[in-house]
């Protein structure tokens, strides 16, 4: 079964760190540029994220994630570059199409922002097993019942994707068309999705029974199957990042007082 998570265990430093350190890194990468008020900080964080990902040998894995947002970014650059209100300075002329400086600058800011968000998240999601992260949250006091809900999504989706393949084949073999004009394709949607929906809802009943039999609602303290993921460096990394955040706030406040 193919997992939906892009995480891969490479034995890298990022793999060994506690999830909280990486989450703190995301917060720092997103909040610090806003506090300092400079796009340069975002660019620096993009560079750091790329460096970390390269060092952990997972840079290639960012491609599908960048691909999802890449198309939207492309439309942003085109639309803002061509049509943004306040476009006056032509920068680039391709035949009848004129890209304007103001719109492109605006689009560039969006691109930097989005890349910073994407890459800093990649530092977390490409180097952390989702179930490890959720287990750590449960250790810190998150409800174990909801912890189960989150973890089970990662098991249910691959199962349902397999069911989907089976059902698509079954309906096709009965003569249902899944290609053709829009109307044909719209008509195909309900016979495809409803069997999966029905079976997964009926499965919830069995799953609930199975869970209750195994003491899902027991009130006593839960134990963990896996050891907590953390390394000796975690404490120092977290302290450094909090200090950086405080330094950023102080720098901004002092800047405002002058």
């Amino acid at each position: 079964m193919k997992s939906i998570s892009l995480y891969e265990e490479k034995g890298s430093i990022l793999n060994k760190l506690a999830p909280e350190s990486k989450i703190l890194y995301i917060i720092l990468a997103l909040v610090l540029p806003a506090i300092v008020g400079s796009k340069m900080v975002s660019v620096v964080f993009i560079a750091i994220s790329i460096g970390l990902l390269l060092f952990s040998k997972v840079l290639k894995k960012t491609i599908p994630i960048l691909g999802v947002s890449g198309f939207v970014l492309l439309t942003v650059v085109i639309i803002q570059g061509l049509f943004r209100a306040g476009n006056v300075t032509p920068l680039l002329t391709l035949g009848p199409v004129i890209f304007y400086k103001e719109g492109l600058l605006f689009a560039f800011n969006i691109v930097v922002n989005v890349l910073n968000i994407l890459l800093s998240f990649c530092v977390l999601i490409l180097a952390t097993k989702p179930s490890d992260m959720i287990e750590n949250f449960v250790r810190k006091g998150f409800s174990p019942r909801f912890g189960y809900v989150f973890i089970s999504v990662f098991q249910i989706i691959p199962q349902m994707t397999e069911t989907m393949a089976t059902i698509t084949d079954a309906q096709r073999s009965r003569g249902m068309e899944t290609e053709g004009n829009l109307l044909v394709r719209i008509k195909a949607f309900l016979p495809l999705i409803s069997p999966v929906v029905m079976s997964s809802l009926i499965n919830t009943k069995e799953r609930a029974l199975a869970l209750e039999v195994r003491g899902f609602n027991a009130k006593n303290k839960k134990t963990f199957l896996n050891d907590e993921k953390k390394s000796s460096a975690d404490k120092y990394i977290q302290i450094t990042m909090i200090l950086l955040l405080i330094a950023g706030i102080v720098w901004r406040v002092v800047g405002c007082l002058k």
Binding site: I79, Q80, P130, I157, I193, M198, A208, N217
Partner: protein, 204 residues
């Protein structure tokens, strides 16, 4: 679709309701996948959220919406995490309306669809403005956006129309599908998610 006497805002979930949440997220995911396979011009990625809201109420709907986008965020598309707000709003709106009886027949569920669509647009537009400068990434919507700002209409208006043109048909399609599915579910299954606070019975 709901029994009298059970609090709409109860946070006391039984196991069946909790297990419904991951199933709903899976259904969201499959809807999106099928829409992609069939090359439909809609997202269809909130069928599970709406279905859960209809079956188990607004709180469960909202939790499904939030968990759905957080999990997308942690696997494929980090930016979709912020759109959790939109899905929470959809879950709440559909759950409340379903409780008030707005999923009884196809006409009323169209009303629900339009309300859910408008709610989604109102919540999404500021997010689109903040993260993308107002575009949605959908070809049709963005074409309208480009036309609107080229004609010097305000950016928030262009963005609003951009989102509306994608979201409203999407939610209408989603809620009609949800209506069709929820009507054909076996009664014993529906009752499972609506059990009151006193008796939690799984064997019926």
């Amino acid at each position: 679709m709901s029994k009298k006497g059970k609090s709409l805002w109860s946070l006391n979930f039984n196991t069946a309701t909790l297990v419904l949440i991951p199933a709903a997220i899976g259904i969201n995911y499959l809807g999106k996948l099928f829409a992609g396979v069939l090359k439909l011009p809609l997202w269809l990625d909130s069928i599970g959220t709406c279905l859960a809201a209809v079956l188990a109420g607004p709180i469960v709907g909202a939790i499904c919406g939030a968990a759905n986008n957080i999990i997308y965020g942690l696997t494929m598309d980090p930016i979709s995490t912020v759109y959790a707000l939109t899905n929470i709003a959809i879950g709440l709106a559909v759950g409340i309306l379903a409780h008030k009886g707005f999923m009884k027949n196809i006409k009323l569920s169209l009303v629900t669809a339009i309300v859910a669509g408008l709610v989604a647009v109102v919540v999404s537009t500021p997010l689109n403005m903040a993260f993308w400068g107002g575009t949605t990434g959908n070809v049709w919507g963005d074409a309208v956006y480009a036309w609107a700002i080229a004609n010097n209409l305000p950016v928030f208006f262009a963005s609003f129309i951009d989102e509306l043109i994608v979201d409203l048909p999407d939610k209408i399609a989603v809620l009609l599908i949800v209506f069709a599915i929820s009507k054909s579910l076996p009664k014993s299954l529906v009752a499972l998610y609506q059990s009151g606070d006193t008796i939690d019975s799984l064997d019926n």
